[in-house]
Symmetry: C2
Subunit: 125 residues, 2 copies
DNA sequence: CTGCATCCCACATGATACTG
DNA sequence: CAGTATCATGTGGGATGCAG
């Protein structure tokens, strides 16, 4: 795939699935939250208010499977604790993801505005 | 939301929907393809092989609604032509998106490997 | 050529309840 | 605390056919 002057090594068919994973509803959020440092399961749940227990578990597993996060069980503790943290690979995702986040926060107003404007035009027609 | 030393203006509740939009299955691909320049509907269809007509239209409409792309109809032409291009707002997305793409292409092998390794460990247990 | 409408199914996600 | 299991559901997305 090429992008203007830039070119992406590898075909776009191979990056699309990756994009799908990190772009899914929760992965990005989880990675960003974990970028602050290791967190326990319950902490993640609290910080990502809207996520359901189920999806938190599923997403964490998927990210672990891909080697983006590390899951550490402290079985000796009572109550039991499980800590999640980014792997080195996972950490390399912080920067690009943060850039995207920044873009989103900077432009969400503009998008919102465009949406309203568009609705208004629709009403005319 | 905070990310290590960095902090994101606005709460994460507001950026999540944005991330969801640009992170959906097709938006990223379409934006990247359009970053090469304006394209006609049929051209987009050809370049993004796996997309269905329906999803192409739907995604284009959504992106247009958000002011990321511009839709221009050349009604005078025969056969009719419709051209899509990135708006200025849309163009600001290229860089962060490209960064992500680059990451994906650079690390998809590592991820693939991790996945296999993980499966092997599962088999042991 | 462009693209809308309809049908339809699979899957992703949510809610709730239960377990070690 | 950290999950798992089950059920219910909404939506994404493909196929097809029609229209301007």
């Amino acid at each position: 795939m090429k992008l203007g002057n830039m070119s992406v090594p590898g075909d776009c068919g191979s990056i699309s699935p990756i994009l799908a994973r990190i772009g899914d509803k929760w992965s990005t959020l989880i990675i960003l939250v974990l970028s602050e440092g290791p967190k326990r399961y319950s902490v993640l749940r609290r910080e990502i208010e809207s996520i359901s227990q189920r999806m938190l578990t599923l997403t964490l597993r998927a990210l672990e499977r891909d080697g983006l996060i590390l899951r550490t069980v402290h079985a000796d503790k009572n109550p039991p604790q499980v800590e999640y943290e980014l792997t080195d690979l996972g950490k390399t995702l912080i920067d690009p993801l943060y850039a995207l986040c920044l873009w989103a926060s900077q432009n969400c107003d503009a998008i919102e505005e465009n949406r309203k404007k568009h609705e208004a035009e629709q009403a005319d027609a």
